[in-house]
Each structure stands twice: as C-alpha cells, then as structure tokens.
Symmetry: C2
Subunit: 294 residues, 2 copies
Amino acid sequence: MELRWLQSFVAVAEELHFSRAARRLHLAQPALTAQIKQLESTVGAPLFTRTNRMGGLTPAGVALLPEARAILARTSTLKQTVGRAADGQAGELRLGIIPPAALDFVAESVREFTLRFPGLDVSVRQDSQARLVAALQEGELDLVLGRDPSGALPRASLGHRRLLAEEQGILLRADHPLAAGPTVALAKLEGATLLLLRGNAYFGGNLRRFAASRGITLKLTPTAEDFPSLHWMVRAGLGIAPCSLLLAATLGPGLVAKRLRPSPPRLGIHLIWRGSAPPPAGARWLKLLRPTAA
Amino acid sequence: MELRWLQSFVAVAEELHFSRAARRLHLAQPALTAQIKQLESTVGAPLFTRTNRMGGLTPAGVALLPEARAILARTSTLKQTVGRAADGQAGELRLGIIPPAALDFVAESVREFTLRFPGLDVSVRQDSQARLVAALQEGELDLVLGRDPSGALPRASLGHRRLLAEEQGILLRADHPLAAGPTVALAKLEGATLLLLRGNAYFGGNLRRFAASRGITLKLTPTAEDFPSLHWMVRAGLGIAPCSLLLAATLGPGLVAKRLRPSPPRLGIHLIWRGSAPPPAGARWLKLLRPTAA
DNA sequence: TTGCCACGATCGCAAGCCGCGATGATAAAG
DNA sequence: CTTTATCATCGCGGCTTGCGATCGTGGCAA
C-alpha cells in the first residue's frame, strides 16, 4: 500500500476523469492508470466501473473513498503535530521539584504555561533530590528543579544550569529575642538547636559547614516532615529553623525570617535535564520562568 | 511521506535498536538508517536521541509514535474494509420499489438482510417506475424492483432479470355477484368499469390489451391514489378493480380476489440494476429473496 | 451510416530511488 | 588499551516509476 495510490485514487474519484486527475496530480495519464491498477490489485477489487470510458465508483470504491481521505488527512497533519511537539508547543512536560524550590512564582509560571499552550500536558512531581535525579535518568521526568547535581552524576549525562540562588536565613517567632534587630548574628546561634526539614541535609549542611568554618557549632535536628509542620513548630515556640529568604514573603502571621550576619554562601536552585539541552517544552517554560526569577 | 518510513519508525521506536529493528523488518541496517533519516528530514525534527548509540525518543518522536501507529492501523484494516464492501457485506444498498412490488415477503427479506449484515445501510424508496429508473441511471439507486425495463432504455445500460410473475385477477366486494364462482369469466366484464391505481397504466394496459384481443372492451378509470384508497373504494361498492393475485392473501375482510378466465399474460416483476451485474450488496440480498420468491 | 473525437489502456525506454554489502567512526565494556 | 557493539557512510546493481507515443473503442455529429 502506498499513500501515493490513495492520493491518486481520491483525485480520480473526485474528477471522475483520468486525464483531468492526472493534470491535477502533475502526472501523465498512463502513470495514473498504472497506480489505480496497482491499488485495485492490492485491495483485491475494482474501484471504478469503466470499460474505456469512466463510469463511476464501484461499491468498493465508495467504501474506500472516505477511508483514503481520512488516512491522507491524518498524514498531512502529522508534520504539524510533530513539528509542534518538537517546538515544545505540544506534548508532555514532566517536572520534578524539590520542596525548597516549590516556590509561588514557579507555580504561577506553570499555571501561565498551561494556559498559553493547551496542547501541553504538564505534570509535577515533588520528591527528594536523589529520587528526582534518578527518575530523570530513567526517562520518567523531563526537567528537574533541584540542587546542583554536578557533585554526583552517576550514569547518564545530565545538563544543568543555575536558575537562582537562595540566601539562607533564620525563621523565628515574631516575639523571639533574636527577632529584634534587622539581622541575626551567626555567633548568637552557638549552641542553639535548629529545627530542620527531614531529608533536607543539603540545606542544613551548607549552614553547618559555614558556621563551623567560623568556629561556631550548630545543632541541627531533622524533625519536621513538611514545611507547614516546620512552620507550626516554630510558631509554637518549639525552636528556630534555618530557612530560605525566598520564602520570607509567604510566611504566615507570627513568623519572621531574618538574614544572617555574616551571610552563608548562597545555595543555587538548578535546572537539570537529560542530554545536551532542555527538552523543547521545558525550554518554552523557562522563557516564562526566567523574567520572574531574575 | 511514505508508509514504509512510518513502519520502520515504529519498529525502531519499539526495539530502540537499529539492527534488531532491521531484522524484524527483513531489511539491512543501512537501509533502515536511511529511511529514518528521510522521515526525520520530512517532519523537520530528529526523532531519536542518538550519537552513534541509540538513546531514546525525542519529544517529536514521542508525539509521532501514536500518530504513526494510528495511520498504519487504519491502512492495514483498509483492505478488509474495502473487501467487505466489494463482497456486499458492508456499505450501502439503496432500493427502489414500485408499489405493486412492495410485497410482504420483500419487506421480510429486507428485514432479515439488515439483521444478517449490520454493516450495511439499506434504504428503500417507493416511487413510479419511470422515476425509479431515472434515479437508478443517475446513480441515486443501486437496485430497483419494477417492471420490465427492456421496452425503453433511454441512456445508460441497465441490466434486468425477472424475479417473479404476477397473475392479474379481479378485486371484488365479497358479496359481489361475480364473486360467487371460483373464477370470473373475462366476458362478464364487457362494458364494466374497472377502478385503476393512478400511474399504473402498465398494469391496466396489459389487461386491456388482452381483453381487446378477445373482442372485449374494458373501461379503466384511474382514480385511486394509493392501494388503501383503492381497496376502500372497492369495499364501498364504488366498483371493481384489477389486482395482482399475489396480494390476495393480504386483503382485508370484505374483499376477495378472483382469477380471470382465461388468464391474461402474467406480468413480470423485474430486478433492474446499473451496469453488467447487480451490485454485490444487492446480490447478497437476492440470495435471501430468491428462495421466498420461488 | 460513417468518420471523427475523446479517453483510457498498453508499450518501450530512461531516470531515479531503494536496498545490499563493505567499510568507517566512536563510545561502552572488559 | 583492546575489543566489541552499534550506527553512519559509500558505491553499485536492480527494480520501480514516470514519460512520450501509440492503440482500441465507444460516443457523437454530420
């Protein structure tokens, strides 16, 4: 079966005239006759009633005509469909986000993205850095917002780029003694107990190392399972916690986030993808995300 | 675009391995590589991520795969679809029936036919012989049950075959004097007025010519528009009418149909079609109709 | 009735495409 | 570092396809 045969058949069926159809197809009449003959022998039934003059469609031809039109239509739109998928205007975008990167402006840009490209199915998975990177390498995700993965790239080649850098601060009850000034001196935290989100050792480790380099020892206790729990614990006065200053604007009442003096090194939030470049749909989303992130 | 490219693409996408896919396609690997390359240049986007080792599908490839499968599936069923239409097991059958041929056993066989072949759309049109034959020649009908068309074949070549022959008799009120005996002598009709269905000159003409050849003059007055009206008029005692003895079994109470003595020549009910043979769907229907008609 | 015309079928030839085997290039595996 | 596995490239032979020319035939008009 050849698509060319179907095109020729449709042309002849519409013109009911071999020579005219051949002209329309930019073909000579003998070639067209040969094609129709091949098609007829393939489907095993004559398609036109003709002696040496065109008659009309046989029942087989009547049945074939809509089928052929459907196949040809689908084939002709195929190029556009695939092209849009290649441009990232359609298809699927499976995002992985680690909890600290699940920021409001990320959610907002995803929302805008789905509105702008209805042909795109966006799914988001929130998990730990390690599991997200593993899923990315398995091909289960297309793009991950996570920590710098350059430390450990187990197998497949991942690309990454820093999207933004977050500054670590301290989350306190509003009436906490340390919340008095505009900043919190790192030295004041000597010996203090800091509540940490479970599975967030990367975040806590950065702060601990920075403090240790200045001769200050921090006690970090991973306790909370999620952000709301951590915030509740701090609001309840059970302790204070390191936090990202990016989240300062979204804190509920009774909580404040203060900068540290001196500032620990900023932690990057990275875009991570498989292969040499982000997938096209991911690249389109980044165009929306970038202005907000800057 | 070539269907072969899509087949090759699906094979490679399923195997994720050029050499294996080539073996499955009974093809050498270079030919397969060339086909994929052609497909990629046609759709304008790479379909596989590969350097010299197979990686996986690109977003374009992911989008193409279900499309290609759909097109190929539709193409592979095409032969069956067309084959069934050519065998008359699917498609359309547009019947034309003149009123005298609209017999019960015809309706019954049509019903059985639609039950046996659900893929077939049967439509029936009841009209005058002339209009049905015209519609048949215009390609608006596939098969007509009507009178012998050999007398006047205006343009297109029609085929026909006698399906059955009906004997003309006389329709009477049950208490009519002529209804006493088992038959009605033709001579008794001399000078009588016979009611005739309008547009049924063919039917009446046969009887009139037969009587005339025996020196008997009949007065035929076309009055009734349809069979129920004709029957009502006879039952009301407004006259008597020639009728087909095939209808004798379906007469309501108060009416009888009597044979004529001597019998006029039988009138055939013919199957008429366009071209050299009945359309396949029509032939299938005839196989059901024939045993009943015999 | 007869010639003409329109149209589809057939034929022979040239060109382009397709597929094969051989070979090259390169990354993973040992 | 060598080997192996895998995809890309190359050159050639064969087949298919399309073209022009020609034929056969049914319809149409004079």
